[in-house]
Symmetry: C2
Subunit: 312 residues, 2 copies
């Protein structure tokens, strides 16, 4: 028998979905929205939940063997000094399609001049000005994990050229050309769109800085769906204000919610979407948990394992 604790703001929904799967030998010990609601912890060997909530009870579970997060981000579980004697799997895989919808919503918004059309209509003006197309445009992906790979897949669907910037990997066949390490300048040259989906590691902090922004052509659009820390925020605000690049769409920020006094609220050609690009969809998560549970029972390698050493 395995004993599961669910600890999430959507705990009841996860419990309902998982119980509907009637997984063999699985007992739900607790389904709580806060650690204080959990009575019995000692028997728990599986923990499913939101990353920040999980980190609060991590050291109170002597029998813990597997943690499945409902988020893609796992940074709070990787802090020095925290236990690493369990298997950690995250939810990044379910975010690819959702992130693709978000990113391509904004790419198409830009090509099809939807904001301008909306304003023309407000003025009762028949606006037949020519719009653009994604076909033949070049997208640069900073990071080609499960999210970047899905972005590449959708980019090819729309006939785009795809560049990928990664540390080592070059396994995604939808990427036309890979760039690594010192090839950052070559990667950015001539990009129409640059999308960051890198995780938060020591090597990615402020990777997108004033130097890199200066390499982009003036019509480029920057999109951040990864981590706020990857982007030097004052440098981006400056690049947008001077017209060095044409626009940006940001879902993540160094501090969230974005403080009222932040320069971004008054930065031109910037769209802010308040960390909503890819909401966790409980039914997807439950299916992922269920698939991994069957593997866990049979001592098979789990899917979506987080490597504690690689930070992602």
């Amino acid at each position: 028998m395995h004993n599961l604790i669910i600890l999430s703001k959507n705990a009841k929904e996860y419990q309902r979905l998982i119980e509907a799967e009637t997984l063999p030998d699985l007992n739900v010990l607790a389904a709580a929205t806060h650690p204080s609601q959990i009575d019995s912890r000692t028997a728990c060997d599986i923990l499913l939940g939101d990353t920040t909530l999980i980190s609060a009870i991590l050291d109170q579970l002597p029998d813990l063997r597997w943690v499945q997060t409902t988020w893609a981000g796992v940074e709070p579980l990787l802090k020095p000094g925290l236990r690493r004697d369990y298997q950690l799997t995250n939810a990044r895989v379910v975010f690819g399609p959702l992130m693709s919808e978000y990113v391509f919503a904004y790419l198409l918004l830009n090509e099809r001049r939807i904001i301008q059309r909306y304003q023309s209509q407000h003025e009762h003006t028949w606006d037949a000005s020519i719009t653009g197309t994604l076909r033949g445009k070049t997208i640069g992906l900073l990071g080609v994990g499960s999210i970047g790979a899905h972005l590449a897949y959708t980019a090819k669907h729309f006939g785009m050229q795809v560049r990928g910037y990664t540390r080592l990997s070059k396994s995604c066949r939808d990427v036309d050309q890979y760039y690594h390490a010192a090839e950052l300048q070559a990667f950015t040259r001539g990009l129409d769109y640059m999308v960051n989906s890198l995780p938060n590691t020591s090597g990615t902090r402020h990777l997108v800085d004033s130097k890199m922004l200066a390499w982009l052509p003036p019509h480029a659009i920057v999109i951040n769906v990864g981590r706020g820390s990857t982007l030097d925020e004052p440098a981006l605000a400056a690049a947008l204000t001077t017209g060095q690049i044409a626009g940006a769409v940001l879902d993540v920020f160094e501090k969230e919610p974005l403080p009222q006094e932040h320069i971004f609220w008054n930065t031109p050609n910037l769209l802010i979407t308040s960390h909503t690009a890819a909401p966790s969809i409980p039914s997807d998560l439950a299916a992922l948990f269920s698939e991994n549970y069957h593997r866990f029972r049979q001592n098979l390698p789990l899917y979506h394992i987080v490597d504690f050493e690689q930070d992602y």
Copy 2:
């Protein structure tokens, strides 16, 4: 030797592109933006151009054997009394990908609440309200020609359920379920999105009327990229004003440009895009012409033939 007349507002660009293909035995007799600029007409056996310009000189070309239009629409060439002793091919095939960009730009705009996000940002508000996803939603395609088929292909990419309403055909494998003739009510039931790409024929006039709009659920969005005449405009304005359906995106209208006094300028939840969903892209057209020219020379069946009897 074959003699081509190009008659289009983009005549010079078509001439440049076609001459760059160095097609064997092809002589460009004229490349004009207006019929009055053409001196020699008698030798012309191939005509390439914009549908309305072509219709003006159709009866002045004794040797005409093939007409390639730069538009998808060919209605002016199908009027009773006009000659039909030549092969007519149209440009509909190049519009599929462009129409897909347009349609999915607006579907994603709706799911991702982009207009609302834009307004929240204007008010310096961190708007973390939940957005939707295309995955699992149902799209109904009125017409599954080359445009509808490409819409179906993109819809499957985003994980949607696809219904197709056609007269007879059911050949597109991206359509999950086909409906014909009297099955219009079953087709509309429960649709999240309904997209019209039907041609203008006697059977499609005001197909989307008050009765059909009443069958749609209140959250449905209607998109028209086909012909303005397919849609009963006062009926749609009424359905949008009373909230019978949630929204509409219209690229085509019964009269264009949309007259200043038209009710649509003051209709709520309506987006107007001024017949720009799929601009003809000369390089695509030149490639299509070139491909068909090789077949024409060899007396092979041309691609994209218009059936004079079927009206499309």
